[in-house]
């Protein structure tokens, strides 16, 4: 027997799924259940991460200070536009090198749809930037250009990085504008 101060039943509440009437056979014949429509419930799922940028952290610190640093292997000179602690060819440590974030559009798209997190920002323009002196590219947003004017002539145009005044410690702390109309 349950003690008086220890509840022996779960209290019904109005939180969560509240069901008032679910059809079910009233008799003994349960064979009709094979024809039943599926039950679908909705529930939220949220999580807050304590995400570390680890060895890439200096890159974000640089962005927050309006500076742009890339990863260069001191022996080979091979330079990654993205932060990368170790060189993929020699396996040795890279070092940080500051560059001026000016370059050319290597490829682009205009996203008219997107992942849920970015839907409110559609349409937005993604570009891969070529920097002089870098062997790899850099993914960024292009801003200040009419998304409806997309055409292949954008490739090769010069772009210049601009920094958010209030850093969010994300790669979008830098975005790009066209420098001029010349390729």
């Amino acid at each position: 027997m349950a003690k008086k101060d220890i509840p022996d039943r779960i209290e019904d509440t109005l939180q969560g799924t509240v069901v008032f009437s679910v059809p079910f056979p009233t008799g003994d014949d349960l064979s009709v259940l094979k024809e039943m429509s599926p039950i679908i419930i909705k529930y939220p799922y949220t999580v807050e991460y304590n995400y570390s940028y680890g060895q890439d952290s200096p890159f974000f610190a640089a962005l927050a200070n309006g500076r742009f640093i890339v990863s260069r292997n001191p022996k080979s000179g091979y330079t990654y536009a993205n932060p990368r602690g170790h060189d993929m060819y020699s396996g040795t440590k890279n070092e940080w090198v500051e560059i001026v974030p000016e370059g050319k559009i290597h490829a682009f798209t205009v996203c008219h749809f997107g992942s849920e997190a970015f839907l409110p920002e559609c349409p937005f323009i993604l570009i891969l930037v070529e920097f002089e002196g870098c062997d790899t590219l850099f993914l960024a947003r292009l801003v200040g250009v009419d998304p409806d004017g997309a055409n292949l002539d954008w490739i090769g145009k010069k772009v210049k990085g601009r920094f958010l005044r209030n850093s969010k410690l994300k790669p979008t702390d830098i975005y790009f504008n066209l420098m001029d109309d010349k390729k």
């Binding site: 490829a107 992942s115 970015f118 920002e121 590219l137 993914l139 490739i155 790669p171």
Partner: protein, 452 residues
Amino acid sequence: MRPVYVVSGGVSKFSKARPDKTFVGLVKEAYDYALADIGIEHPQFFELLDGSVASYFSDHFTRQLMAGIMAQDYLGLVPKPSHRVEGGGATGGICFQEGWKAVASGYMDVCLAYGFEQMSHVETWKGNEFIALASDVSMDYPVGGFYSGYYAMMVTRHMVEFGTTVEQLAHVSVKNHMNAYHNPYAQKRQKLTIQDVRSAPMVAWPLTRNDICVMSDGAAAVIFCSEEGLAKLEKSSGHRLPRVRVAGTGRGTDAMRMADRPHQSFDDFYKYNALPNEQNADARTYYKDLWKKGFRYPGVHSFRAGRMASREAYKNAGITDPLKEVDFVELHDAYTSSEVQTYEDMGLCRYGEGGPFATSGKTYMPGIDYGLDLPEKPICPVNPSGGLIACGHPVGATGLMQGVFAFWQLEGTIKKHFGDPALQVPNAHRGVIHSHAGTGTYVTVSILENEK
């Protein structure tokens, strides 16, 4: 490695949503079909089965970790050995190869590979977000994580480098949707025109909704066996089983961040990446000219992982000129553009020629009216099933689905399984399946041959 045979397979109906079943129910659908097709019931099969491999891509879609063991449990395969594999879009292709590997290595005589994805539990745009988490979450996802956007950037570069046009890409969409019209397992069985493709809503310029595969609920299963396993299965079923051999497999990888891919020299390309059919003076001259124009390999227009997977698989299967030596290809056309890119990676044409190759007619099914003006006759149908674009892309199942469709082609039983002979590749002896992840990070290529 010892010989490995595919002896049966099953595919669930692919659909935008299958609320009628949980993912284990979908796997059961594919599994039961595979067993029924060789006339073996579960208790018999259980006695012969040595183990399994499970594949699904995303724990996010089901919000269920350890989903592989749940399928194993539901199928009634516990306590047999099993494990789950995952590799983005190539998850199913990796599972296929792990099933092959379990038998080829001598670890098992009979191995079941099954895969699934139930993507309908979230809305499409949340699903796109989950998929975009398969890009670097430090550097790529926050900029606007969206796979269609990543692939569209590859397209614009391909167009500038090689003069590829959106109409050429649209040919792929028309072809694959039309093929799927004859495939009852497919999700989008549509007769489209080039105009239909181009006038569909723009998703990521220049890719429209009809250039892009759809999310799907589905499962697929493949049974592998050794010579010894085949003898056991035949004894149990009481009849001779088809003999479709896995003649070669290959895998390749590339940088996770598309921006990090190298821009190699001509010499390195020839040293590391060229295929046997490119080892001639004509091809060398062609590529030399490309390099003079600024082409660098792989850049963002080409998939080095796909090339390396093809190279290894062709070597293992003794293929030196794929277009002439392969009867059909089921490849990973998550986008019309990635089919065009993959023609080049697989050596069906040279790098830069994918656009004209798509409109040549060589990759179409004979006997089907696509409503297109195709100058040449079919040589090697690509995605005769309809591919991912039209069948759907329930990620963990897709590569296995290709394996099942390729098996049926080589068994000559498309009419039996599809209820329509239109998609049977005539006299098919050798087929290739190709599964692809990320922006080209993991790629698998597997080659199947029937016994002549």
